[in-house]
Amino acid sequence: MRKCSLESIDRVFAAINADASLYLPVDGDDGKAVYTKWEDGVKWSGALNTVRSPKSFFFPQMEDLVQFRTEGKTIEVIDPRKESEDFVVFGVRACDAKSFEVLDRVFLVDPVDSYYASRREHGVIVTVACTRPVETCFCKTFGIDPAEPAGDVSVWKTDSELFWQSNTEKGEKLLEKLADLTEECTDEAVAAQKEKINSVMSRLPLADLKADAFGAGKTMKFFDAPEWDELSESCIACGTCTYVCPTCQCYDIKDFNTGNGVIRFRCWDSCMYSEFTKMSAGQPRLTQKERFRQRFMHKLVYYPEKNGGLFSCVGCGRCLSRCPISMNIVKVMKTIGGKADE
């Protein structure tokens, strides 16, 4: 474990940025943190987390897959990919760090999504342990420890210092680069910090939320629960929850006619949309209730079923604070989970 003083942070950032683009949460003009490219003078946000999740570093909202250029009646096929540059994402929280595991299990299994894989390869994730969780946090529900964030490098912040620990080879390399700016240290301060965090975690209003009722094999138990009607009643079918969610990974592939050819691109899609996965024969889920149910069943039942019990919710709480009508996974879990046990 290594440490550096908080005052030296800008020098550390500069060192990281020297040969890989550094992105970190920075307060925007509306006071909300957003991942921004670091440059001299850019200040690391003190906010707990960003409005948008860091998944877009690896799975951007929109990316070109292939391009067809037409000239008269001939077509030329172009691969628009440029070799991805190395980059470092700093300040990722434990919940979001876990989300990469969820995404990896989708994009890195056969057939490997080479667009995603290439970005994962070039990206280094530096996580930072939480210090001030808020009422919407419930990562513990999914077994995530905010005091022990994953990632290539884990960082703990105290009042005056930052403690660095590498977890992977990539992380090791990064810390080597910072050798001059950091010094070797014991993990006592970190242990104290962890304890502090855990005591806060136990006071959170959602501390007792359990996901035990859900998981693999529960499809039949929940699918026909009558509560879905009521829960989905107020859903306005927007994609906010999906788009702020760090683990939602659905996309659509579309063609854009440029006038001189076609750009085939993919962009995020949301299972909450009525046009989602619409095919020539229509869409598989016709009502908002079905679409609503799909999203939560996927996170809590279908995904775990296929991925060794791993839930595809990380309890980051973004959807809790962002849903226009305040309907969210916690309300679903409490309603469905509770009722189904009776």
Binding site: F256, T258, G259, N260, I263
Partner: protein
């Protein structure tokens, strides 16, 4: 190396009954205006959807002009009055977003006003040329 002279791309929507006929009259009288102007015939100026205007900018137009019958002379009696409101609001909104005002215009040209048609186009092309390439409402994917 010689710098290639900048030629703007102008899309002109002309109503069939007045302005398109006005453009024809400009032709009959051999009143020249730059070839940068390309006319699309619509039955009435009120057929022009703001989406068409944005589409033209997206696809690379540097200026969009809509021409219709003079107020009171609409072949369909009231179409141009709706156009006038729609475009006043649309153009004002584009201006509000910081898009240059001289890239959009609504002009009334009657079937008898060949000279006005040519003069309007000359003036519009000049103004758009002065602004240069449309950068603020461009879609890079559509660039060659």
């Amino acid at each position: 190396m010689q710098v290639k002279e900048y030629k703007p791309l102008i899309v002109a929507f002309c109503c069939n009954w007045c302005s398109y006929a006005g453009a024809d009259l400009a032709g009959n009288n051999r009143l020249s205006y730059p070839a940068d102007v390309k006319i699309i015939r619509v039955p009435c100026s009120c057929r022009v959807n703001p989406m068409f205007v944005l589409r033209a900018f997206q696809r690379g137009a540097d200026g969009v002009i809509i021409c219709g019958c003079h107020p009171g002379d609409c072949h369909y009696t009231s179409g141009n009055y709706y156009t006038r409101r729609r475009m006043a609001l649309l153009f004002s909104m584009l201006d509000y977003l910081g898009i240059e005002r001289d890239r959009t215009r609504l002009e009334w040209v009657s079937a008898a006003e060949g000279a006005k048609f040519a003069a309007t186009m000359n003036d519009f092309v000049e103004k758009v040329t002065a602004l240069g390439e449309n950068k603020r409402l461009e879609d890079l994917r559509c660039k060659k």
